[in-house]
């Protein structure tokens, strides 16, 4: 076991992919000379050269669309869109082309493309740099959506995503890049189809992903001191959702709280709650609850931003409510 940061794990994943497959290349804003906005691709330009580590103009629409074209042309592009906030400028190629092309062409074409981007709030970057819109993307048939929340997943999700014949979006919560965890020697490919139980427990299931996994685990530690053993599920894959893991847990614990940094209305949390209700209603001892971001553009001031986002204390309160409401 060696300690690695989430950032280093992602960089190692890129290095491995670039070395293993000559069709793989990385393009995006400041991925080369600058070394990546979050320093994920630092050193890769020197190692792999400007043909394979391509700095792009600030043209999200064009370089995401070009990634689709390059994938159709036989390459295996990794497109880094600096953050989810800027991916709004590339919604058209992602939704209208990448997601739809296989079906709309009657199965003639498919788009083996990986699009990575940072997501989430928590750094006082205010309304235009703090979105958590992965739930939007998880709404779209034709794409797959991953949310690595651990160093192991940061290391291991990229290669299988590149092997996928269809477009895969990877959302990296911006607060995770500095996360340090132990990584087994020889760590590599991980499964990208299943959710994982990160902490077993018998009393309630906390469902988190990306930036809310750590907060859910923290809430579970606090709850344990109160005698409530929370199971924590890391969704990992936001589309297609792994209902089986989720439902198996909820049927055991009979209670669930979904923790999602997206806004409440029309959220991924809402979808997960609906699935639990549809499939495990009679196994529940309490209504499914959720902790989401407050419905407000994320504010700048630290105390306001903290108040807007899911926090361990809010999760703890939501769990306690499951009994309080009885």
């Amino acid at each position: 076991m060696t300690a690695s940061s989430y950032r280093e794990a992602l960089r190692q994943a890129h290095r491995e992919a670039l070395a293993r497959d000559p069709r793989v290349f990385l393009m995006g804003e400041d991925v080369g000379k600058y070394g990546g906005t979050y320093a994920v691709s630092k050193g890769l330009l020197e190692e792999f050269g400007p043909q394979r580590i391509r700095d792009t103009p600030l043209s999200e629409l064009a370089f995401v669309g070009a990634g689709i074209g390059a994938a159709l042309g036989g390459m295996r592009p990794i497109v880094e869109v600096m953050t989810v906030n800027f991916s709004l400028l590339a919604l058209d190629p992602i939704v209208n082309t990448a997601a739809a092309l296989r079906h709309m062409s009657g199965g003639q074409f498919h788009v083996p493309l990986v699009i990575r981007m940072a997501t989430g709030a928590g750094r006082q970057l205010a309304a235009q740099h703090s979105h958590s819109l992965e739930g939007w993307y998880a709404h779209i048939p034709g794409i797959k959506v991953l949310a690595p929340a651990t160093v192991e997943d940061a290391r291991g999700m990229l290669w299988p995503a590149l092997q996928d014949p269809d477009p895969v979006l990877m959302f990296e919560h911006a607060l995770l890049y500095n996360l340090e965890q132990e990584l087994p020697a020889g760590a590599g490919e991980v499964d990208i189809r299943r959710a994982r139980i990160r902490r077993p427990g018998r009393d309630v299931t906390l469902v988190g992903y990306g930036g809310t996994l750590e907060k859910s685990l923290e809430a579970a530690r606090i709850l344990a001191q109160q005698g409530i053993e929370a199971e924590v599920i890391d969704l990992r894959v936001l589309r297609p959702l792994d209902d089986a893991t989720l439902l198996e847990s909820v049927r055991r614990t009979r209670r669930a709280v979904v923790v999602d940094e997206g806004w409440r209305s029309g959220s991924l949390a809402a979808e997960i709650m609906a699935r639990i209700m549809e499939q495990a209603f009679y196994d529940l001892d309490a209504p499914v609850a959720r902790v989401c971001s407050e419905e407000v553009p994320i504010p700048y001031a630290k105390h306001l931003e903290e108040a807007a986002l899911p926090q361990p204390a809010k999760i703890v309160a939501a769990v306690q409510n499951l009994w309080g409401n009885r």
């Binding site: 792009t56 370089f63 074209g69 390059a70 592009p77 058209d92 092309l101 709309m104 014949p165």
Partner: protein, 331 residues
């Protein structure tokens, strides 16, 4: 037109082939319009009638290994790229024999075998795709060109400017074919653009340009041959503006309130089939009987396609979810 039309500067056999191509598109789309009236074809139907010389001139200038990206007004491009009229017509009917098994319809014709990448119903949506296809060719050392068709309406989109810049910056072999029919749906060019010189826009990105009479199939073909060669030799993009005109409404829902009938009639005098036929006749390359025979063959081809589409089957609704994702083994 002048009294003595200019002779066609192409070999006779090629000239007749271009004429036959235009006739195929014209008869195919006239049939489509009728079938739309019969409700055999539904959804949106955007006819290319009047603009046939552009696709007819450009397509034979491309090589089989080249890629083609087109718009939602792409029946003609699809047919001349080599897709069978049967597969295109069946797609318009929404039948399983269609090129996309009824998933795409008129606006989304695709064909892997001829590297025909659609069929894009978002204005400007094909341009970034073309840039990426050319990038893949460049990175894999393939000597190919990607031809990207779009209307003049697309130059108002950010996608046009971003793509033009990226293709020029990375020197990618894209042949940008702008079909300037003067109206973005119902909005005239001068009512939507501060700069109506489209070549000037492309030139501002350092992209070489050509302006071509898009009503003259011979001129289009010659320009396309030159343009493709230039793209291959330079390895860099080229922007060709084909000045053309749509004789029919934008779609079947368009009451055409935005343009004068006189203007339409004026352009019809320059009709690509009409004028090209007159030139071929004037130089003794085509008799009326030969013209009628070419026209009859085109009509026959279309009728066969229409009959095959009519006889086609519906994709079972049970297969609705097929091809959303590529099938993989269960985990």
């Amino acid at each position: 037109m002048t009294a003595a039309p200019a002779p066609v500067p192409l070999p006779r056999e090629l000239a007749l082939r271009l004429l036959a191509s235009m006739l195929l598109i014209r008869r195919f789309e006239e049939r489509c319009a009728a079938l739309y009236g019969e409700q055999k074809i539904r959804g949106f139907l955007h006819l290319y009638i009047g603009e046939e010389a552009v696709a007819a001139g450009v397509m034979p200038a491309l090589a089989a290994e080249d890629a083609v990206v087109a718009t939602y007004r792409e029946h003609g491009h699809a047919l001349l790229r080599g897709m069978s009229p049967e597969s295109v017509m069946a797609e318009m009917f929404g039948k399983r024999e269609g090129c996309c098994r009824g998933r795409g319809g008129s606006m989304h014709l695709f064909d892997a075998a001829t590297r025909f990448y659609g069929g894009n119903a978002i204005v400007g949506g094909g341009l970034p795709l073309a840039v990426g296809l050319a990038l893949a060719d460049r990175m894999q050392g393939r000597e190919r060109v990607t031809a990207c068709f779009f209307g003049e309406g697309a130059v108002a989109e950010g996608a046009f400017h971003e793509s033009m810049n990226l293709a020029a910056l990375w020197r990618l072999p894209v042949l940008f074919c702008c079909e300037n029919n003067l109206y973005a749906m119902g909005t005239a060019l001068a009512r939507s653009e501060s700069q109506t010189d489209l070549c000037a826009k492309a030139a501002s990105y350092g992209v070489p340009t050509l302006r071509v009479d898009g009503m003259d199939v011979a001129a289009v073909h010659q320009a396309a041959v030159t343009a493709r060669q230039a793209v291959l030799e330079s390895g860099a993009p080229l922007f060709a503006e084909f000045q053309t005109y749509r004789f029919r409404a934008h779609s079947m829902f368009d009451p055409e309130l935005y343009r004068d009938k006189a203007e339409v009639e004026q352009w019809k005098q320059r009709g690509p089939i009409h004028n090209f036929t007159a030139r071929l006749k004037a130089q003794g390359w085509l008799s009326e009987e030969e013209f009628l025979e070419l026209d009859r063959q085109a009509g026959e081809r279309v009728e066969a396609a229409s009959a095959a589409a009519e006889a086609g089957e519906w994709e079972p609704a049970a297969d609705l979810l097929k091809d959303v994702y590529t099938p993989r083994e269960p985990a």
